[in-house]
Amino acid sequence: MIVNLERFIALERPRWERLDAMLSRISEDPWRRLPFDEVRELEGLYQRASADLARLGTFAAEPEARRYLENIVARGYTEIHGAPDKAERFRPGAWLARTLPTVWRRRAQAFWFALALMTAGAVFGGAAIALDPEAKAALIRLPKLQGDPAERVAYEEKSHGKDLVDRKARFSGMLMTHNTQVTLAAMAFGMTWGIGTLILMFHNGVILGAVAADYVMAGQTKFLLGWLLPHGVVELPAILIGGQAGFVLAGALLGRGQRKGVAARLNAVKADVVTLCFGAALMLVWAGLVEAFFSQYHEPVLPYAVKIAFGSVELTALVLYLAFSGRGAVTGTRT
């Protein structure tokens, strides 16, 4: 136990104080980029403080000094062994052109599962309306859609889109945020072993199928396509991508056929899940704008053929983008 603690502390204290001060500055100003010399100095001081901590531990002399050193070594450890610098990482162009479609393709199985569920829901909703028209009140809650489709079409064509005059932008913002919340919920519910995501996908399908069946049975198919296609061909895939992210999470949680532990499995998918969520949110911004500024105009203001053609072009572009963009590039994580 006999050590020259005074000499040890007198020698090392200025370095500890310097390291403490450097770490405090980094913490206070996260945007500051350290010059190369300072980075080297930081690492050197951290290594030295680590060695001092080890020595102080063997001396078993002074718990306060040990706690103080532990604190600065812990802070230094977080800085030095942390994630790579953010500024060097993210390139929006590359992310959009390569990362997002590549991740979507890598996790396509989960997307097809979400699509199958929504389709099943749509078939169920459509069949329910066809077999029991009174089910409409229970399945379609939106007051605007509960009336006779033919009456609504007549009204919309007569109003020339005046209903949304001076509130299109606000409506668009509300659509974007609401749909993004639904999409994020679809992802987050993946942590219920996928049960919540499954219900959400099916439920959305039921509503869609019920509305579609209602309009088709009323002979308003052209209106339906002109109304839904321009925004729906982006909005629905975005929600499906949210479901895809949820099922990827659920797959990692269940871990069927994988030998890794649950933490390792979740770790392996999280980058892909976040990519899918942000991709879906971006798509919903576009869908919100189209729905508010384009979809709500009908004939005679906008011919249905133009709207259907617009939706078809969007769908084709989206399919081509997801299927082919960034092919050959390797990004993200794999399981």
């Binding site: 002074e62 802070r75 450890y77 992802m187 987050a188």
Partner: protein
């Protein structure tokens, strides 16, 4: 077991050093959450003033900006703050909390985004009940978002630089004039007793006068009982100064 303030994350660094991070309790985290909620509300109040002013020019467009701004503020504030401030929001900074990964390292963006996107489930059915239950049951106090992202929240209390000045040898130490006494002290006094005396000296200013006199009298008596000290070495030396001299002999080698 619930996560109390004393729960720790033990880390062994590649440099071969071990230390502990103290895991934050759900209660402190809830307090930080409340602060962050207040921050969002305050920021929104400021934005709302601008929105009201701008709505005089274009009400529709301003309405869109307001809806999106509130969404981004409420959903994005924590992601942005934790990413920019290395695992801290304003609430966490105030309560000295930090989010780190399960190895104690800095977070990746994916971890920050994931733990915050999962708040949706953690907040169900109300008042973060799902997250709270998970945090109470998890040995590391992790809510669902933390478990998914591989993160945890640590508490970083202020650790001031200890007062090492008591070891400074400016004062005359009468014991050093007697080498056999020094040798006997070093041989007979157990490390625990030496550490107790060291701590008593460090914290002497925290004691009231009577307790301080009593404590150092007890310590001095204990050390005197351990080894015979000639009277001429302790004549006119207070009990506290005697203890200081003993600690100086035990811990400091003078060249």
């Amino acid at each position: 077991m619930s996560a109390a303030l004393t729960d720790v994350l033990h880390v062994r660094t590649p440099e071969g050093v071990s230390f502990d991070f103290r895991i934050a309790s759900p209660v402190i985290r809830l307090a930080a959450l409340a602060v962050d909620w207040a921050v969002v509300m305050a920021a929104w109040s400021l934005i709302a003033v601008f929105v009201r002013v701008l709505s005089a020019f274009n009400e529709d467009l301003t309405g869109m900006v307001a809806v999106i701004a509130y969404f981004l503020l409420s959903q994005g504030y924590r992601i942005g703050a934790e990413w920019i401030w290395r695992g801290q929001t304003l609430g966490k900074r105030m309560l000295r909390l930090r989010v780190v990964d399960e190895e104690g390292r800095r977070l990746t963006f994916e971890q920050v985004a994931m733990r915050n996107l999962l708040r949706f489930v953690d907040a169900l059915p109300l008042a973060y009940m799902v997250g709270g239950v998970f945090a109470l049951l998890s040995p590391r106090g992790q809510r669902l978002g933390d478990l998914t992202a591989g993160t945890l929240v640590i508490w970083e209390p202020v650790e001031p630089m200890p007062d090492f000045d008591i070891m400074r040898g400016e004062k005359y130490n009468s014991l050093r004039a007697h080498v056999p006494v020094m040798a006997r002290l070093r041989q007979s006094i157990a490390p625990e007793a030496a550490r107790t005396a060291w701590q008593a000296l460090l914290r002497r200013d925290e004691l009231d006068a009577a307790a301080r006199v009593r404590l150092f009298a007890e310590l001095a008596a204990y050390f005197r009982a351990m080894t015979r000290v000639p009277d001429e070495l302790v004549d006119g030396v207070s009990d506290e100064q005697f203890v200081r001299n003993v600690v100086d002999v035990l811990y400091v080698t003078r060249g």
